[in-house]
């Protein structure tokens, strides 16, 4: 590897770590994360075989799986888990002692099945509630399902320059992520108000309680506190009360979302691959427990923008869609 390229990669890693430390203020409520080992640039090792476990055949999972397999160029094999959780675990038990294999699990079910591979390196992705299942170990790390939060809030700022307060509601266990989100929002001149709830009804209640002090809501895909009825209800409530809503799925744009940001499958696949490569010659997976993508796929609902009297800037016109 040329020395210049190596220097560039080292500089990128150092900058990422600096940003990470800025996003996580050291408060009593949020204990500091354990210090992450600094990985020195290593010579590109030989690629191990990678087993890609996919929870189910849905676009959000299969796109990432296919891109990974493509980039692994014959070293990756995709396995869709169609049986019960027990059957999946039994199937994986055969690979338990194969030290020449790395694993990628896409989706919660696949990641839960891969949790049994305690001595194998597993990189998971497309999992939102990883905290609830103790999925993080030195050998089991992930790539966040969330798109770039910085880009989400900069887009918001560009679409609605007057918006100062945004509300977000989630289930428990997202304190770290919310700290990063608050930092990203603050950098864009937005104050993010976060509320933790335990059920869909609490979500609904908190949503309406919070409505008085925020101009918009950022919906995150926490399935534990969301239900179909509540999603419809809060979206309807938002329209009636002229609230801007950033949603996690294009589908919700048709219910009144202003814009949606979703992670880019290609970027997720690249990030997973990067982590796998970093772990080729190490016992553990180096780097942070969760790596956050830098990109996002943006779509703007022009109908809602018009309804909310928002002018879509010229540079965002290409993301404009009518729903």
């Amino acid at each position: 590897m040329p020395p210049l390229r190596m220097c560039c990669r080292l500089a990128i890693v150092i900058m990422a770590l600096i940003l990470q430390s800025c996003a996580e203020p050291k408060t009593g409520l949020n204990p500091p994360l354990p210090p992450q080992p600094v990985i020195a640039a290593l010579p590109s090792p030989a690629i191990k075989d990678v087993v890609i476990l996919v929870s189910e055949n849905i676009p959000a999972y299969s796109k990432v799986a296919k891109m990974l397999a493509k980039q692994l160029a014959g070293h990756g094999s995709i396995r869709y888990l169609k049986g019960s959780q027990l059957e999946n675990i039994k199937m994986l038990a055969a690979n338990k002692d194969d030290g020449n294999k790395q694993f990628v699990s896409i989706g919660l079910n696949a990641t839960l099945a891969a949790k049994t591979l305690t001595n194998r390196q597993v990189v998971f992705c497309q999992v939102f509630n990883y905290q609830d299942y103790d999925l993080l170990t030195p050998k089991h790390k992930g790539v966040s399902i969330m798109p770039s939060m910085s880009k989400t809030f900069s887009t918001w700022r560009a679409l609605a320059p007057g918006t100062a307060d945004i509300g977000v509601i989630s289930g428990p266990g997202f304190e770290d992520m919310m700290q990063l989100a608050k930092t990203a929002a603050k950098l864009n001149g937005i104050t993010l108000h976060h509320k933790t709830v335990n059920s869909d009804k609490e979500y609904q209640y908190a949503f309406k309680q919070m409505a008085d002090k925020v101009q918009g809501f950022w919906l995150i895909p926490d399935n534990r506190v969301l239900s179909g009825n509540i999603l419809r209800d809060v979206m309807t409530f938002s329209i009636h009360n002229s609230k801007q809503v950033a949603v996690f799925s294009d589908e919700l744009l048709s219910l009144g979302g202003l814009f949606s940001t979703t992670s880019d499958p290609q970027e997720v696949a690249q990030e997973v691959l990067r982590r796998l490569k970093q772990a080729q010659n190490t016992e553990i997976i180096p780097g942070p427990d969760i790596a956050y993508p830098d990109k996002s796929i943006l779509r703007i609902n022009s109908v809602m923008a018009k309804l909310l009297n928002l002018e879509i800037p010229a540079q965002y016109k290409k993301y404009e869609n009518a729903f």
Binding site: S55, E56, I58, P59, A60, Y61, G107, L108, N109, Q126, V127, F128, N129, I145, V197, N198, S199, D200, K201, E202, Q204, Y205, P221, D222, N223, R224, V225, L226, S227, G228, N229, I230, L231, R232, F248, S249, E251, L252, L255, T262, S263
Partner: protein
């Protein structure tokens, strides 16, 4: 001028007669002069009254049926309404109770309580934990005597916890007349799949349901029931008045509809009393007109039959001329008339001479033929106003009234003798008979019909004895009335 008792009774009888179909008794009081008509209730009832009675009972039945149906329907409507209302209250209370479950602080029920205050039917609300036994918060309306709930039994909790179908199980329990308990679980839902980025509202990936508690709601809708009962009472009064009006209108209509039938009553009563000089109206409704035509035909037939009977009773069957009874009547009338006018009248008794021989020689048929011919000749001879009667066998009588003189009568008798004596052709035979006539003139008011006829008979007898084919006039001057000088041939 006061009426006599007899006149009063006659008037009352006439009145009763007119009210045919009703049986009654007349009571006469001399002072004050009053008549009581006491009607017999056991008599036949009026058709119109019967129809009206039926109508009345039918309307009464309908009335009670309507009221009962109204009451039952209202009860059902109230109960269903309370159930539906209860369901919506449960939904709202479920929503309002969330802060309570989020914080476990009963003070958070404040918003729910202010909501509950708007509905007086809500008597009590309890929020229970997920076990269904521990009360988290409770609301009870003041001054409400409603009893406490019995705790939720295990079976009820099990039933309410059933989430096989994605619809809440609500348990309704009615106690008393206006109390209802509703129990329902409080659910929270979450989307099953973690893959929310591909979440589709049209194709949901399934939801997990968890029960975090229960709501118990007691509803007291006695005020609603009471209001409704009042309304039903007023409605029943209005219906009763409307039915009374309808009944009155129907009564008029029944009477109007039965009027043509009632009008038949009067001619039929007269017919029943023997009158045949009646004509029934044939106008109006088709059915009644047909009855009228049928009655008129019957009346006409009755008239014809009466006429025939009268003819048979008053006339001689062989010759068709009046018989002795008619002669007696006419004689009586003629005497009365003569008494008034002072005109002369006479009675002639005619007996045929030789009739027996004709009968014996040629048979009774020939005798009958002879009698018919003689009758014809006598009819031609006497005046149109005179009465020719057959008294029996070969005996005839003629009543002459309004005679100008005795001579007029005698001249007619001369022609009679002449006409009778003319030969008669019977079959191939020629027969000849003559007449012996006795005539009696009315000379005094004491001469009645029977006397005159007897005198004429006596005079005829003299004619027979003195040679036949002659007449003899009864002589009032002799004691026997027989005088040979008074003979005509």
């Amino acid at each position: 001028m006061p009426f006599s008792a007899a006149q009063f009774r006659e008037a009352a009888k006439s009145f009763l007669h007119r009210l045919s179909g009703l049986r009654g008794k007349i009571e006469y009081h001399k002072f004050p002069q009053t008549i009581f008509l006491r009607f017999d209730r056991s008599g036949p009832k009026s058709l119109a009254n019967r129809i009206l009675m039926l109508q009345f009972f039918w309307m009464l039945f309908i009335y009670f049926l309507v009221i009962a149906a109204l009451w039952l329907a209202s009860e059902l409507v109230i109960e269903n309404s309370v159930r539906h209302q209860g369901e919506s209250w449960i939904t709202k209370l479920d929503e309002l109770g969330i802060p309570l479950y989020a914080t476990n602080n009963p003070a958070k029920l404040k918003q729910a309580i202010s909501y509950l205050h708007n509905f007086p039917e809500i008597a009590r609300v309890k929020y229970l934990d997920e076990s269904g036994t521990n009360v988290i918060a409770e609301y009870s309306r003041k001054n409400n005597p409603i009893d406490d709930f019995p705790p939720l039994s295990e079976s009820v909790i099990e039933k309410l916890s059933g989430i096989e179908v994605e619809q809440k199980t609500l348990l309704f329990e009615k106690s008393g007349t206006s109390l209802m308990h509703i129990s329902a679980p409080i659910w929270v839902k979450s989307i099953s799949s973690d893959g929310m980025t591909d979440y589709s509202l049209d194709k949901p990936s399934g939801e997990k349901i968890e029960i975090i508690g229960f709501i118990e709601l007691a509803l007291d809708y006695s005020n609603t029931t009471s209001d409704l009962n009042h309304n039903i009472f007023y409605a029943s009064m209005i219906i009763a008045v409307m039915m009374l009006i309808a009944s009155f209108v129907l009564r008029i209509m029944v009477h109007w509809a039965l009027k043509p039938l009632s009008e038949l009553e009067e001619p039929l009563t007269r017919l029943a009393n023997g009158e045949t000089d009646i004509t029934v109206s044939t106008s109006g409704d088709k059915e009644i007109a047909r009855i009228g035509v049928a009655l008129n035909t019957t009346i006409s037939a009755l008239k014809d039959r009466d006429e025939a009977l009268r003819q048979m009773a008053d006339h001689d069957a062989l010759t068709g001329i009046p018989n002795r009874r008619v002669l007696a009547d006419r004689l009586k009338q003629a005497i009365a008339q003569a008494h008034r006018t002072g005109k002369l009248l006479s009675v002639c008794y005619i007996d045929l001479d030789g009739f027996k021989q004709v009968n014996d020689q040629f048979g009774h048929a020939a005798g009958d033929q002879l009698l018919i011919e003689i009758t014809r000749r006598l009819q031609e001879t006497v005046r149109s106003g005179d009465t020719l009667a057959r008294l029996g066998g070969d005996e005839f009588a003629v009543l002459f009234n309004d005679l100008a003189s005795e001579n007029e009568c005698l001249q007619i008798l001369d022609r009679v003798l002449e006409m009778v004596a003319k030969p008669i052709i019977i079959g191939n035979d020629k027969v000849t008979v003559s007449a012996s006539i006795g005539v009696a003139f009315r000379c005094s008011d004491k001469d009645d019909g029977d006397t005159l006829l007897r005198h004429a008979d006596q005079a005829m007898y003299v004619s027979k004895q003195t040679g036949k084919c002659r007449y003899h006039r009864y002589d009032h001057t002799t004691e026997s009335g027989i005088s040979l000088t008074q003979v005509g041939t």
